[in-house]
């Protein structure tokens, strides 16, 4: 249902209970904020807000780079060891005629 249809529905069927002044406006603002939270510009803005505050931004940026460095060391060492282990097996195979035969 479009926003305009909802407004018309509210006008045709006024609430029976007394509603505080500005109630409808608050509801629409809440709906608007909820949609905004899920958008990329909002996420960028919020992250940007954090990062541009030196007290939060510098530790956050350092943490992001440190996580990335830790991940690189972990994956790099794993990948390097895997390569050397494969080459160790491969060496044993190439000097063994029985393995040539298989």
């Amino acid at each position: 249902m479009k926003d305009e249809d909802l407004r018309r529905l509210f006008k045709r069927n006024p609430p029976e209970l007394p509603v505080e002044r500005g109630f409808q406006r608050e509801v629409w603002q809440k709906i608007g904020r909820r949609n905004e939270i899920l958008s990329l510009p909002f996420l960028l803005k919020t992250t940007g807000d954090f990062l541009t505050r030196p007290a939060l931004g510098i530790p956050l940026a350092v943490a992001a780079v440190a996580c990335s460095a830790w991940l690189a060391v972990h994956n790099g060492v794993e990948s390097r060891n895997e390569t050397w282990n494969e080459l160790a097996l491969s060496y044993n195979q190439i000097i063994n005629p029985i393995n040539h035969d298989n």
Partner: protein, 167 residues
């Protein structure tokens, strides 16, 4: 808004550059080995800390062994085929099966002896400690190869111990 977006982008780019730089530095040696003509020999050089002279000698030995290895492989393949042909249709005690089995076993011995000889020659060009380690590696992986399911991690027989196949 624009400058905040740039700050976020800057941190993301810095993190990505950090990741790839560190990963690349750690794996550079292994990647270089893989792109060489004989990656296994590059592994050997690194694993047993060979200097250039030792490596050149061992490379020559390896090339000689490789020719012998292929010849033994061809003979092994022939003896295995002959054995396969007769073992399914003839009685085990028959002369033809016994002959094929003997020929196949002989080729196995020739193969093991060639590995032992190569092991001995290669290890002679290594530092004594590295040579012993190389012999141990070849002996454990090529001479004693095969499953010994009741030998525990200390190398002792243990009837309670069962080594299961790893998948």
């Amino acid at each position: 808004m624009m400058s905040k977006g740039l700050v976020v982008l800057g941190v993301v780019v810095l993190s990505i550059v950090t990741y790839f730089t560190i990963h690349s530095v750690i794996t550079v040696e292994a990647r270089a080995a893989l792109s060489s003509d004989h990656p296994e020999l590059i592994w050997l050089k690194r694993e047993y800390s060979l200097n250039d002279d030792q490596f050149t000698k061992i490379q020559e030995l390896h090339n000689v062994h490789d020719v012998k290895c292929r010849e033994i492989c061809r003979e092994l393949s022939e003896s295995r085929k002959q054995l396969e042909e007769v073992i399914v249709g003839e009685p085990l005690e028959s002369e033809v099966v016994q002959g094929a089995l003997a020929a196949w076993r002989e080729q196995q011995v020739v193969s093991q002896n060639s590995i032992l000889k190569h092991m001995e020659e290669v290890s002679r060009y290594m530092e004594p400690g590295q040579g012993a380690r190389y012999r141990s590696n070849v002996y454990r992986n090529l001479i004693l190869s095969g499953r010994t399911p009741h030998i525990d991690s200390n190398g002792d027989y243990n009837s309670e111990f069962i080594l299961h196949l790893k998948r």
